[in-house]
């Protein structure tokens, strides 16, 4: 933590996740690629953690609420040293602990299992509240998908976190503007999103979710209010044919598609 080259980390994670999804014949690769830069900056420059003591009390906590992007978390944790990278190719294999939706069981560094949407933020708020109750300094980070904001439980937690002034809580919204079947705006319009969350009592900042400098600058700062970063992202970022395509929420890159993805990501 602190001195990792986040560009290199993000590239390695992207290559890993494409290989994992290819071998596991699993899905959600577009959603994973959308958040890789956020993960790289969190684990490379922002969060305090100890790979040799994953339960260190003073550590910062991270919950991936959009659990379907779990491959990104596994790959990031392996790249920063929580476990051996060779384990990653077990992803979605028979008997594997590396489930398609992120699971904590037996996997060093994963704080919390998710998969059903709208679960991460309330739990992150509970963890942040504990720091307040016990006068501890750690921060809690969570990444939410934008489509996930359709779930009402998030808005309960937005209200609660502001009410309790959980300024040690940071939500990053992966604003790729696509959800399962259509755009977020055609499905259940979120805009004006920043205004909405601001009106709930949060400090909101919008930025380019693939700019490491912008992410680091925003994430490193301590806010007086709970912090929400709306990270404008591209679903499928880094692989030309996956970018902004709903199809790659579901499909597995195989054969020539796989080769092309690896080739493009290797050049990043």
């Amino acid at each position: 933590m602190g001195s990792i080259d986040t560009k290199k980390l993000a590239r390695a994670v992207r290559l890993n996740v494409v290989r994992m999804v290819n071998k596991g014949e699993s899905s959600h690769i577009g959603s994973v690629l959308s958040i890789v830069d956020i993960l790289a900056v969190l684990y490379g420059r922002v969060m305090n953690y100890d790979i040799n003591n994953p339960k260190l009390e003073a550590r910062d906590r991270f919950i991936l609420s959009k659990g379907h992007a779990g491959a990104g978390v596994y790959a990031t944790l392996a790249e920063v040293g929580f476990f051996d990278k060779s384990e990653l190719l077990d992803h979605c294999q028979d008997g594997s602990k590396f489930s398609g939706h992120v699971s904590h069981k037996g996997i060093s560094g994963v704080e919390f299992s998710t998969g059903a949407l709208g679960h991460g933020l309330p739990v992150a708020a509970g963890m942040a509240l504990r720091a307040k109750l016990d006068d501890l300094d750690y921060r809690v980070f969570t990444i939410l998908g934008d489509g996930e904001l359709d779930e009402g439980s998030n808005w309960e937690a937005f209200m609660f976190s502001a009410h309790r002034n959980l300024n040690n809580l940071c939500v990053v919204i992966d604003r790729n503007s696509l959800q399962s079947m259509d755009t977020t705006e055609n499905t259940l319009a979120l805009e004006p999103l920043a205004e909405k969350i601001r009106s709930f009592g949060w400090h909101v900042q919008e930025l380019d979710g693939h700019s490491h400098a912008a992410l680091e600058d925003a994430l490193i700062k301590h806010s007086k209010k709970p912090l929400c970063i709306i990270a404008n992202t591209v679903k499928g970022k880094g692989v030309s044919y996956m970018e902004n395509s709903i199809e790659w929420h579901y499909k597995t890159p195989k054969d020539s598609r796989f080769d092309q993805a690896i080739s493009e990501l290797g050049k990043l």
Binding site: H104, E111, F112, S113, T114, G115, A116, G118, H119, L121, P122, V123, A124, A125, G126, M127, A128, L129, R130, L133, G152, S153, E156, A157, M159, F160, H163
Partner: protein, 307 residues
């Protein structure tokens, strides 16, 4: 039973600063003293049950001993997926207290009738499910679930077995209490409705029919040893609950019989049949209206005894 529960919670919170009580904006007139005495251990989280279980999970992951409170189906059905994924899968020490077992809030209508909760909560892996019959059981259950490292569901009732002092006070999770001994038939009950079972047994005594009454306060894990004893020493077994028969306490007893490979000569499950009650009324009225009051138990056992 609410009074016994809060008395226990005050003791727990006093002894352990990690005990946290969260209410979903219910408990007016109940929690004020607790909130005043333990301001850092009390949260009124608002009418937002999904967030309540999520926040409880976050706190429990960090080592807190969490109690959440609401009424009827609000702390269970409204937030069932949070209980399943966040609390149960992570094996957290979260204790869900529901006030309003069965028809406790009978006059308020079906939204407030907690009638499928036993079946649903016991279907979740790793849970402990308790429906006390007496004040003592409610008190000791509250004390005990704090130490029990699993998701516990405590179902409190407006009704209760009256004058139960001294009856089965050796409370242990998973161990039923014999409230009355008997040699002919056995009635296994849970919740406040156990009062109907006990009353029926005393009536049957007058006809020289001796009935054992068991408060099976813990539905999960069920007390198979006691069930085995009941099977061996009874001519018939009745289960009685103010909840749906499907998946309820009686079903748990029957599952235990299957596991034991041993069945009573006769068995009948009394509870709510597969429908909602669309009329309202007192707990007493609704029990009578659907055939789970004292009279029906007496009639059933008299009929068994005559044949």
């Amino acid at each position: 039973m609410r009074g016994s529960m809060i008395r226990a919670l005050v003791e727990l919170a006093d002894n352990n600063k990690d005990v946290v009580l969260i209410t979903g904006d219910l408990g007016f007139g109940l929690f004020e003293d607790f909130a005043k005495q333990f301001p850092n251990q009390f949260i009124n989280i608002g009418i937002a049950e999904q967030n309540m279980i999520g926040v409880a999970s976050g706190l429990a992951l960090e080592g807190k001993v969490v109690f959440v409170y609401s009424i009827g189906n609000f702390p269970t059905l409204r937030c069932l997926e949070q209980i399943r994924n966040d609390a149960c899968y992570h094996k957290l020490n979260i204790n869900i207290i529901c006030m309003g077992a069965g028809f406790s809030y009978g006059a308020l209508g079906m939204s407030h009738h907690a009638t499928e909760d036993i079946a649903i909560m016991r279907a979740l892996p790793g849970t402990t499910v308790i429906s006390p019959s007496t004040e003592d059981e409610a008190y000791f259950a509250t004390i005990n679930i704090a130490k029990h490292k699993s998701v516990c569901y405590l179902r409190l009732d407006k009704s209760k077995v009256q004058n139960s002092q001294g009856l089965g006070t050796d409370f242990e999770i998973g161990k039923g209490n014999i409230l009355k001994d008997g040699t002919d038939y056995t009635i296994i009950a849970c919740g406040g409705i156990t009062e109907e079972a006990l009353s029926a047994a005393y009536d049957l005594d007058k006809d020289n029919i001796s009935c054992k009454v068991v408060s099976m306060h813990t539905i999960k894990p069920i007390d198979s040893i006691l069930i085995q004893e009941c099977i061996n020493n009874s001519k018939g077994l009745v289960t009685l609950e103010e909840g749906n028969i499907t998946g309820g306490m009686g079903s748990a007893v029957l599952e235990a019989c299957l596991e034991l490979g041993n069945f009573p000569p006769r068995m009948k499950m009394l509870g709510i049949k597969d429908d909602y009650v669309s009329v309202v009324g007192s707990q007493e009225y609704l029990r009578k209206s659907i055939g789970i009051s004292k009279k029906f138990i007496v009639d059933l056992i008299l009929e068994w005894n005559a044949s």
